[in-house]
Symmetry: C2
Subunit: 285 residues, 2 copies
């Protein structure tokens, strides 16, 4: 079987780097990397069986959640998280000209623009920041226009043979992004999970409408069992203002009895409940 891995394209994105890092951890003989034009499409491709795995960014240490990953996971069915990867993010400025004064526009993914905003304000105050679908897509503007610059990775600059004007332009030195490796629950023959001592279980739920205290009730289920939550994120349910889908990362394995009983009680007090399973977190250096 040739293992196919979906990631945000074109080649050279941080998602592709995360996919390569994931493959490095295994010795998978035969693999195809499948770049897609949006994060939503990567996850959908795995949900629809076009690909075996998706590597999708879930949050950045500076800019926070990647909303499209959460929203798409909620919309798809029968997906589970297999592994979490934390990848260091080192942005470079790519442009045809080495002269910063000649740069009029900077292109990149909104997350990358956000992660370099202080550097941009100090070093390129005269430029307009323009959002692209991926850090690599930004490079096409640099190829076409000598007054354009892009924020992308060292690898992307090499891949597209474009000059690096400045390295390490992210505002925070320990900028990193957490990725989830996602697969269909029923897919067999996947690379083994890399075990670490950090195991998480993630789930998402919506609450029955017009029931005050409903969120409190669900949080009590975790509190009573001393299950620590490392993160709670809310996303709009898109039904009405004040109606949310909650995403929770719990510091527990789904195999523990405590978690089983929590899940049972959650079934009763939530409207829709999705468990994405347990997964160990690996940090790439």
């Amino acid at each position: 079987m040739t293992l196919s891995i979906a990631h945000l394209g074109p080649p050279g994105t941080y998602a592709e780097q995360a996919a390569l890092a994931y493959l490095d951890l295994h010795s998978t003989p035969s693999t195809t990397l499948r770049p897609y034009a949006s994060i939503a499409r990567t996850i959908q491709s795995t949900a629809q069986g076009e690909t075996h795995l998706t590597i999708a960014p879930i949050e950045n240490s500076i800019e926070g959640s990647v909303a499209t990953t959460l929203d798409t996971l909620w919309q798809c069915s029968d997906l589970q998280i297999r592994q979490a990867l934390v990848l260091p993010i080192r942005h470079v400025l790519i442009a045809q000209t080495p002269n910063l004064q000649k740069i009029k526009a900077v292109y990149s993914h909104p997350q990358a623009l956000g992660q370099c905003q202080r550097w941009l304000a100090t070093n390129l105050p005269q430029t307009t920041a323009i959002a692209t679908n991926s850090t690599t897509e930004a490079l096409q503007y640099v190829q076409a226009d000598p007054s354009a610059a892009a924020i992308s990775s060292e690898r992307a600059a090499q891949l597209y043979e474009l000059p690096i004007v400045q390295r390490t332009i992210q505002d925070h030195p320990d900028n990193c992004t957490r990725f989830w490796v996602i697969n269909q629950q029923k897919t067999a023959d996947l690379p083994p999970v890399i075990e670490t001592d950090q195991t998480y279980t993630s789930l998402a739920f919506s609450l029955p409408a017009n029931q005050p205290g409903a969120l409190l009730k669900t949080l009590q289920i975790f509190a009573e069992r001393s299950i620590n939550l490392s993160r709670i994120e809310s996303r709009p349910s898109r039904r009405s203002m004040g109606d949310y889908v909650f995403f929770i990362d719990a510091e527990i394995s789904a195999e523990q009895t405590t978690f089983h009983s929590a899940l049972e009680q959650l079934q009763a007090s939530t409207e829709v409940l999705k468990s994405f399973g347990s997964y160990p977190l690996v940090t790439i250096s």
Copy 2:
């Protein structure tokens, strides 16, 4: 005293509309609306005493949280929320040409682009979506380029005398945005608060590093007192991955004794705790 209200500019943004709606609720004799180039700058202007009030978007019913509002509130000191306003959002497509096939690029604020993504994919599949700092800033591209379109409001089209090609292009009919009216805690002589039967109290906190169970402990403080939380949002603390600032909206008034005792206990189990006070929510039709 001339009351000055900061909002995201240029004139014609939804934030300006929220400011006008807020003024409509009062009969304030003398007011200046002060447009700023970014949401961060509006809130900073009030924190620094340049303006009396800021009207800042906090979340949209479709696209979710406005991260920059949360991050800036956390960075500033001594600010409080005076009122919440929910404003219906009705997007229109503005372009020089009525022929959709001639449109090559659509400009708008990323939130507005997100709120119309299905409409764009169906009606303008050939166009590139380009992010701007505000929905009104997008109009300058329409003025300059006959193949450009903007997503903005009916009011903005009138203000800038540009043609509306299509009305009600948002994907969800009940699209609305919640705004917070923010002032310095010490500012006197502000317009009276509009009382309603929906009162919220908002606060934010960071947790001491490397203390497993710290989030659990804070949630228990609310659970034990049956204080319902309508929303929990996490933002990266920007110190390290997995380290967050949590924003909570509680369905209680800060004047209640139950809340006082919760706040006291929170002081002990959080690292930094900021309370933004209590405020009633008004829905604009």
